[in-house]
Amino acid sequence: MIAPFFKYGLFGDEASLILAFLVGIGFGFFLERAGFGSARKLTAQFYLTDLTVFKVMFTAIITALLGIFYLSWIGWVDLSLVYVPNTYLAPQILGGLLLGFGFIVGGYCPGTSVVGTATGRFDGFIFLLGLMAGIFAFGEAYPLLEGFVNSTDLGPITLPEALHVSYGLVVFAVVAMAVVGFWGAGIVERKFAAKSVNDRIPNAEA
């Protein structure tokens, strides 16, 4: 067991901030490469003409998931030291719903709006101002919301624990679902791209 390096004290707090900056650069680079600095590219996911959001997100999830799984299997990473966020089921379900509304109304999510802003999208910058206004509203309402925000606390529970199956089985199931999803995404895109092109080009063949 040698990783996570920070948890084993291989470097301190100050160095961790430099690393944060560096992984941030990689994060921003690949978000922009994928087209996620563009609100129209992102929202096309929800009109089914371009499923890049689904493809990139699930490829990233299974890459990191498989990576951490194999690294822990061969004994390089102590999986118990990798942070699993606590589950607060009810606030996370409501929060996810609001976030979905915000995504299609605003065109970005927080990370992608930073990339949009950095690449000149003024709507991305306005989105960020709205984001901070929303956080401020939440902060001011926090004394009233506190009870709900901390309700349905299930601790750092993972899918294998909740389903009482092995970690490997869930990893396999997620990868299998993603692969089927990628195959389906191609079919959906061809169908809806044809429809949207035909809407714009009169007399075009289907």
Binding site: G24, A34, G67, V77, G102, T158
Partner: protein, 192 residues
């Protein structure tokens, strides 16, 4: 058929314009970009034992702003205090604040290399710029509240929590997609 031809023609056109120095480069293959993003996330897990995030950095900014304007008010609120007292001595000395600074630099670099950086407002042809900016602010606001209720956004919960198989992160992710698909029809004039 027409769609495939049109798509291929658009791709070829974009590539040709880029080579002639007159237009942006096409985006990276989504699966390749996904692997890149996944490896960045994996590196963060291995180095730090934690994942990526975004909304938390802006919460630090809001908390510092509130404290500057009304110190006693901020100190009386547990939510702000959580971001003001992060154990590093200063609220901006946080993993997420530095990561988001990098995010800005990385996005700018990629856009510059591909010729995609330009001042513009992203919108469909059927909405005014003012209307689009109003909705961008409203959407950001919804996301601000949502990400605090859920304790994270698409980066911290869906991507990072999803990769460590957190139950709440997966429930959150499904709801994000459900919410966006549910409202897509009503705001279609903004995008299509």
């Amino acid at each position: 058929m027409a769609a495939t031809v049109a798509t291929e023609a658009m791709k070829a056109g974009a590539a040709a314009r880029h080579e002639a120095g007159t237009g942006p480069a096409p985006y990276m293959n989504p699966y390749l970009a996904g692997v890149g993003l996944g490896l960045v996330l994996l590196a963060t897990f291995v180095l730090m034992g934690r994942g990526l995030g975004a909304s938390g950095a802006f919460t630090s900014v809001v908390a510092v702003g509130v404290e500057a304007a009304a110190p006693e008010h901020a100190r009386a609120n547990e939510f702000y205090v959580g971001y003001l007292e992060n154990g590093f001595g200063h609220p901006f000395k946080s993993f997420l604040v530095f990561e988001v600074l990098g995010l800005m630099v990385g996005g700018f670099l990629s856009g510059a290399l591909a010729g995609r950086n330009r001042r513009t407002v992203e919108k469909g042809p059927r909405i005014s710029t003012r209307g689009r900016l109003g909705l961008a602010f409203l959407g950001g606001g919804l996301m601000g509240v949502g990400s605090k209720l859920a304790r994270g956004c698409t980066s911290g919960q869906a991507l990072s929590g999803g990769a460590v198989l957190s139950v709440g992160s997966w429930a959150f992710m499904l709801m994000v997609f459900a919410g966006a698909y549910a409202l897509a029809y009503f705001v279609r004039r903004q995008w299509l």
